[in-house]
């Protein structure tokens, strides 16, 4: 299983390294989202500062959507969407591999975004340990859920539209948890922040486990 996961993750990251989609397109996209929403939601700084965690997670969420979409687009770009099934790789391994690749890309993106937010909205980074834990947990949850729903939508002709529909409501808890944890941490109430981290970790663990269990029927089908 681990060997298969490594193989799949290596392949996906190599494709990413070749095409540099995350760097050239998704990262700028995330920044655009930050800016645009700042526009749309009243350019009144006082409020924006409060909404910063929310905006950060919205940008991450929409980027996750794109990264996942891309991750499955490469599988069926050449007409055949059988490659992964034909290899006979372990489904749990495939899940872990694809999720790991998405995680790596997303983590890099978040660092960039974090710096952007830090500069643009002038947020101070008090309580960074809890911020870090919350970020990792939330990202893991997003990635695991995204990888599963990506597989659910993959191969259907309607995937571009089905994926967001399925994915966004499910990760609503991550949105809330991430936003609240950040808000609490930035307010200095780290106790509450850790409680939200608990929710995020639960979600992440649950989805990783579900993914490893349920990926088999998803790869299975024709």
């Amino acid at each position: 299983m681990w060997r298969d996961a490594l193989l799949v993750a290596g392949k996906d990251l190599r494709i990413e390294a070749r095409s540099k989609i995350a760097l050239n397109q998704i990262a700028p996209f995330a920044l655009v989202v930050l800016l645009l929403f700042a526009f749309a939601l009243d350019p009144d700084r006082g409020f924006l500062q409060e909404a910063t965690p929310g905006l950060f997670w919205i940008a991450v969420l929409l980027s996750t959507l794109l990264v996942v979409q891309r991750s499955y687009a490469v599988e069926s770009a050449d007409g055949g969407r059988d490659a992964l099934r034909l290899t006979g790789l372990d489904p749990a391994g495939v899940f872990l591999g694809k999720a790991a690749a998405v995680f790596v890309v997303l983590a890099m993106l978040e660092v960039g975004l974090g710096v952007g937010v830090r500069l643009m909205y002038d947020t101070s980074l008090r309580g960074w340990p809890v911020l870090l834990v919350a970020t990792v947990a939330a990202t893991t949850g997003l990635v695991a859920a995204g990888t599963m729903y990506g597989a659910l939508a993959a191969g259907l002709r309607v995937r571009e539209t089905l994926l967001p529909l399925l994915f966004l409501p499910v990760v609503a808890p991550v949105m809330i948890g991430g936003t609240r944890a950040f808000a609490a941490a930035l307010d200095g109430s780290s106790g509450e922040a850790w409680r939200w981290c608990g929710l995020l970790i639960t979600f992440a663990v649950a989805y990783v486990a579900l993914g490893m269990l349920l990926f088999e029927p998803l790869l299975e089908d024709s």
């Binding site: 599963m148 659910l152 259907l156 309607v158 089905l162 529909l165 399925l166 409501p169 499910v170 609503a172 808890p173 649950a206 579900l210 349920l214 029927p217 998803l218 299975e220 089908d221 024709s222």
Partner: protein, 257 residues
């Protein structure tokens, strides 16, 4: 399109009668449902007293809560059961159960939202509030829409069954969250009133409430039985159409040779 009558004359014996989705049992159930609904309306609208604080608005209580519980627990619960059953046994029965339950759950959840909003207007002074339970209920509604979207996204029955089973299972995870949300987040919405020892509910109201609960549960079961049987019969028609199609398909070869 093969009509059910044609299928029957095609003469394959089954225990199911194909000209209706009812049976003796469901007809009795149906009559019961109608009677109970009439009684329930009488109880809720006329017989039971107005509440001290809410006045007549409380009457929505007898609609809202049973709908929420039948849709959320029964509907989504059966959706989860059907989904697990399918992934385990891989038979179409479980898929259809999940599909029927999911559809009804969608309907009931929509009605919960509607009655809740209508109730909220007099009681909270607003139709909608970003309260955790309300929001999570809205999320459940969207998840169920997603479930239906998947069911329409593919015509391949197996692919559809497998993928929607996974989605149904994941959607069901929202329900415990709804249950716990009032305790975790403390929003506007009521915490559990369904406490038999709760003295604040007077006798007639308590009776009306329990009667409503039973009524809506029976209503749900009745609708589910019919919805399931429609799906099941459709499946059987498709099955027979498949036999027909196989014959036709084989004949394709005969023609060209």
């Amino acid at each position: 399109m093969t009509t059910s009558a044609q299928v029957e004359t095609a003469g394959r014996p089954t225990e199911d009668r194909l000209d209706s989705t009812g049976s003796r049992f469901t007809r009795v159930l149906g009559v019961m449902v109608v009677l109970m609904l009439v009684m329930q309306l009488a109880l809720a609208l006329v017989i039971s007293p107005p509440e001290v604080l809410q006045g007549d608005a409380v009457r929505l209580f007898y609609l809202h809560v049973p709908l929420a519980i039948a849709g959320g627990y029964l509907g989504v619960g059966l959706l989860a059961v059907g989904s697990i059953g399918y992934l385990w046994k891989r038979t179409i029965f479980w898929d259809l159960l999940a599909a029927s339950a999911g559809e009804l759950a969608l309907m009931f959840t929509a009605l919960t939202l509607l009655t809740g909003s209508l109730w909220g207007r007099p009681v909270w002074g607003t139709y909608w509030e970003w309260d955790p339970r309300l929001t999570l209920t809205a999320v459940l509604f969207v998840l169920l829409i997603g479930y239906r979207a998947m069911r329409t996204a593919s015509t391949d029955p197996h692919l559809r069954a497998r993928r929607s089973a996974v989605i149904g299972l994941l959607a069901a995870a929202d329900v415990p969250l709804i249950r716990m949300s009032v305790d975790w987040w403390r929003g506007l919405h009521q915490t559990a009133t369904l406490n038999p020892l709760n003295p604040s509910l007077d006798g007639m109201m308590l009776f009306t409430f329990f009667f409503s609960m039973v009524t809506f549960t029976v209503l749900f079961v009745w609708l589910l039985v019919h919805r399931f049987r429609v799906a099941w019969l459709e499946e059987q028609v498709a099955d027979r159409a498949l036999d027909e199609a196989i014959t036709q398909r084989r004949a394709e070869g005969q023609e060209t040779q």
